[in-house]
């Protein structure tokens, strides 16, 4: 049985790691892009980005001053038992979010959308967002904290039958043209594409694809995986480097696509570009209360992407 106290500490730790330590897969991708870059300007930028990652970890400073709107993705094992229940977990998660905001001197972004009243602790109505998924044959609970801004780089459009893959290509080139050429997306970015499902689902799985899959990961469906490779090549072929400056190092660390079965005449398309401060951190809590930091969230699994009627 996992107590609410343990979960409060787990959420706090997930937030702390997300704010201050870049995931290792993203860091390795940046090192590769730095080596590959031949233009002096984006090459210097990549060196400064890597230096910033070191400083954030050493000094325990937020990698980015815009901590965005801190949020949580939670995978709950089917056999997981919480001593104090899920309502207590959510209360603990809100308290931990307020506590880390103060301790790390994180900016308190969360405010009322009309009055702009700011309570000062990143907690409020529907904030932080907490999304859940279940995993069979597991008794742990896994928390992934994601910190991200979000003004630029996202796009949605409803593709119609007949648009096909060209519609996806057009949408992605448009998104990079609009937000990438002046670096408003803070490149190198990690691109997530959500295809199909319902409108809101396409947008949600696009964001999850950008945030919750490691660089280099490929979708298990070979048709999707092939398109991920093709779109990554297409985007990097546009000749943008770090900050969107002309360069050869690449614009995106990777392109991840998630699909959901959709309406036979329509295909909703969501696009997200995750900035270079690609902050995510995973803490898995076992039934005995031990906390284990992990590199890759369990969010996408064979079970979560299942087909068929089971």
């Amino acid at each position: 049985m996992i107590s609410a106290d343990v979960l409060e500490n787990a959420v706090y730790e997930a937030h702390r790691l997300a704010a201050t330590i870049l995931p290792s897969d993203v860091r390795l991708a940046f090192e590769r892009m730095h080596r590959r870059e031949t233009e002096p300007l984006p090459q210097r930028v990549m060196a400064e980005i890597l230096d910033n990652v070191e400083i954030a970890e050493t000094d325990q400073r937020p990698i980015c001053a815009d901590v965005g709107v801190p949020r949580l993705y939670v995978v709950v094992g089917d056999k997981c038992k919480l001593a104090d229940g899920f309502v207590q977990f959510e209360r603990a998660a809100r308290q931990a979010t307020a506590r880390i905001t103060k301790d790390l001197a994180m900016r308190s972004n969360r405010c009322h959308p009309l009055t702009r009243e700011n309570p000062g602790h990143n907690v409020g109505v529907f904030a932080p967002n907490i999304e859940y998924r279940f995993e069979p044959d597991a008794d742990w609970l896994e928390i992934t904290a994601v910190h991200k801004g979000g003004a630029f780089g996202s796009d949605f459009r409803m593709l119609v039958d007949g648009d096909g893959v060209d519609g996806i290509r057009k949408g992605l080139i448009d998104a990079v043209a609009e937000f990438g050429r002046r670096g408003l997306t803070c490149p190198p970015v990690t691109i997530g594409i959500g295809l199909g499902g319902t409108k809101d689902q396409a947008f949600a799985i696009a964001k999850q694809a950008a945030q919750l899959r490691p660089v280099g990961d490929r979708h298990p469906d070979p048709v999707v995986a092939e398109l991920e490779d093709e779109l990554h090549e297409m985007v990097d072929g546009l000749g943008l480097g770090a900050m969107g400056y002309p360069g050869s190092g690449g614009y995106a660390t990777d392109v991840h696509m998630e699909i959901a079965y959709t309406h036979s005449a329509l295909t909703p398309l969501g696009i997200h570009q995750l900035c270079q401060a690609a902050r995510r951190a995973v803490i898995r809590v076992s039934q005995d209360g031990t906390m284990e930091p992990r590199d890759v969230p369990a969010w996408f699994s064979e079970y979560s992407r299942r087909e068929g009627v089971q």
């Binding site: 001053a65 815009d66 900035c275």
Partner: protein, 227 residues
């Protein structure tokens, strides 16, 4: 690109006019922050800044620090960087002229016409943050919080923070006093790649209903080309 340049605030007109796009700049001294609410408070609601900006902290950063108030009046900044500057185009000209600002630290640059019409005229430069978020490194360059003004009226993030800085940088000169724009040069250089990519798509995809037909239009605007 030349070597890195170290300057001390308040910047002189000569400091600003000597910089060229692509230069990497570090700052010592004092800077102040401001986003939309600071501009509205000073320019639209006619509240004078409580300090002599021109002779102290004549560098304005479009950003809100990651910072907290530990005790009343005791502020701590951990990280800082800039937010996208193009949306402040309405304010920047008046603000530079009225308060003697010699450098704006921002993100993404501003429309080149502002560099030509305002920055060149008054002797100011636009410095872009690097990577648009090496905030921990910039945070190291903030050695103290001199003051936070208008916290009650504008809220802590949007307030005017006056920061003491040392080896604060690097920033890249995006707009200089000749009116040149580094970002605009970059956009012009890559546009041919985008044209080639669009050219691989069939007409029915390029002309879908409800979509703009000029995807290469720039997102930075002034009143010269309000969409």
């Amino acid at each position: 690109m030349t070597g890195d340049i170290h300057l001390t605030t308040p910047l002189s007109e000569e400091d600003a006019r000597n910089l060229r796009i692509g230069d990497f700049v570090y700052l010592d001294g004092q800077i102040h922050t401001g986003r939309a609410l600071v501009y509205q408070h000073t320019l639209e609601s006619a509240n004078d800044p409580p300090i002599d900006i021109a002779n102290s902290c004549n560098v304005q950063m479009h950003g809100a620090p990651a910072g907290v108030e530990d005790e009343p009046g005791q502020f701590r900044v951990s990280s800082i960087q800039a937010t996208a500057s193009f949306r402040y185009w309405r304010y920047v000209g008046d603000y530079i002229e009225r308060f003697g600002v010699r450098a704006i630290i921002g993100k993404g640059g501003m429309d080149q016409s502002l560099y030509e019409d305002v920055f060149a005229k008054y002797g100011a430069v636009f410095l872009t943050t690097v990577g648009y978020g090496i905030a921990a490194k910039y945070g190291r360059g903030v050695i103290g919080v001199e003051a936070v003004y208008w916290k009650e009226q504008l809220g802590l993030p949007e307030a005017m923070w006056v920061l003491n800085v040392k080896d604060f940088g690097p920033f890249i000169v995006d707009g200089d006093c000749t009116g040149a724009s580094l970002a605009a040069q970059g956009v012009a250089a890559v546009n041919k790649n985008f044209r080639e990519a669009y050219a691989t798509l069939p007409q029915h995809i390029l002309k879908r209903m409800g979509e703009v037909d000029d995807s290469l239009a720039e997102e930075v605007i002034t009143d010269k080309k309000v969409r």
